[in-house]
Symmetry: C2
DNA sequence: CGTCGGCTTGATTGTGCTCAACCCGGGTGG
DNA sequence: CCACCCGGGTTGAGCACAATCAAGCCGACG
């Protein structure tokens, strides 16, 4: 089945915005050529399910633009997000037949997809891909474990503050090294998605966001655009070590 | 610094109880010989901290016997377990300088340790080790994500039932393919460790265990030895799909 | 025998959930 | 054009579940 590239400017790996961060970041020209050959782009609209849990997986790939969510649902409808996939993050599980979780587009998402079988072959033959994938997987595992602390032990307010801090950090890593000072960004998640991420109800999310706003720890422009007057003050609400192990 | 093997019968990889499940499971005689050369055994008593978060890591390795816990602690003392390491599980993070989490022995633990630098070299050179480590890491990631659902969305009772089901499953995987029927096993965790794992207080753990006992879903011999008269009944309390996607 | 650690049980409190009403902005159809 | 609706979000009242504070139990060990 053919999949035509959605955006012509993305066809060449050399121009790819995630070239230096994704699984392919350590590839040289020969490996890139092989990847070029098995890849195809596809764009999903917000809300669309990219992969259903339990499905045969046809492909693996990288998020090029947008935000996707890994989620798990219980029979009675309770839902928990178990991963947030941002540009350059890897989608899919080499070596597994069936997808363990749903993958849902939180915003419009463009994937760079590789057919599974040839990618697994490449993985077996090229250490530069395998080592990068191992590194990314270990990073994801660390992130998942941080998230377990949040889910198991943090209060609703700490959860919200942590989420905002993480998203702010991801965005502003492009601009300044955060520290303290004014930061502004767009929330890529609805209140409901935030609730699913944090193990809360959407009412509680809404209340806590309002509370942070009331206390001038955050400012809102509309529902989604957020300004943080002083990042250090927000960090203070996360429950985490404010001074990442610094000396006094 | 020398580390003499604690138990002479563990010195030879051929006799190792985790030979076929650990990172080394796909190694042939030549790689095993290299590993033999960089390994040393060490036994830790219950409660001892094996690695401190933030420390330089001197080694990586495998759990040979016993149970260890990965934990994270907030400044005010709230604690969350973020991983449970059973025999054959891997300890440490190749490619990272500093340990991200505490590793604590829950029972007496024996590790098969590899010096970090030579192991990383081996990892870079031998796909059979690298691919096995990638596979194990992906499995751990899946397990962590299952745990996130538990932490974020399950009730106290469901959490306890899930933990018991998991431990029972791990133990009895040796004996029968679970399904339903009578299962018996030893809890390797104190009530406090269970609470840290489940994101609960130890009082709540105690109460819920008592409740399951009162309802004859479990039986206790002492505090730690547990019998499950009907595994299917316990599964019913976990909140998970009872019929793992089976047809009626 | 007394103490100590791990565990259980009880009484009370509080955080976040539930149920419910309402707001707001955008799109649609009469 | 305006009325209507619809989805996402906010706010409120009451409640329930697990946390907290506190006492007591049990078995091991000195």
């Amino acid at each position: 089945m053919y999949q035509s590239p959605m955006k012509s400017e993305l066809v060449d790996c050399g121009d790819c915005p995630i070239r230096h961060k994704a699984v392919c970041s350590r590839c040289g020209p020969p490996e890139l050529a092989i990847l070029e050959n098995m890849k195809s782009y596809k764009t999903y609209e917000a809300g669309q399910t990219i992969v259903w849990a339990g499905d045969q997986t046809q492909f693996v790939g990288s998020v090029v633009t947008g935000v996707a969510a890994l989620t798990q649902t219980m029979e009675d409808g309770r839902r928990q997000m178990v991963g947030l996939l941002l540009p350059s993050d890897f989608v899919g599980r080499p070596g597994r037949e069936l997808a363990p979780f749903d993958v849902v587009a939180a915003t419009e998402v463009t994937l760079c997809r590789f057919r599974k079988a040839p990618f697994e072959k490449l993985l077996a033959e090229t250490p530069s891909v395998a080592s990068r994938l191992l590194e990314m997987t270990l990073d994801e595992l660390d992130a998942a474990r941080e998230w377990m602390l949040l889910l198991g032990r943090k209060t609703a307010r700490e959860k919200i503050a942590s989420l905002l801090a993480i998203i702010a950090g991801r965005d502003s890593s492009l601009r300044l090294a955060s520290a303290s000072g004014r930061v502004q960004f767009e929330l890529p998640l609805s209140r409901e998605a935030m609730a699913d991420y944090l193990g809360l109800t959407l009412e509680t999310v809404s209340r806590q966001v309002s509370a942070l706003k009331r206390e001038n720890i955050i400012e809102l422009q509309g529902k989604r655009r957020i300004t943080i007057p002083d990042f250090a003050v927000l960090m203070n609400e996360t429950g985490d070590d404010t001074d990442g192990g610094m000396l006094t």
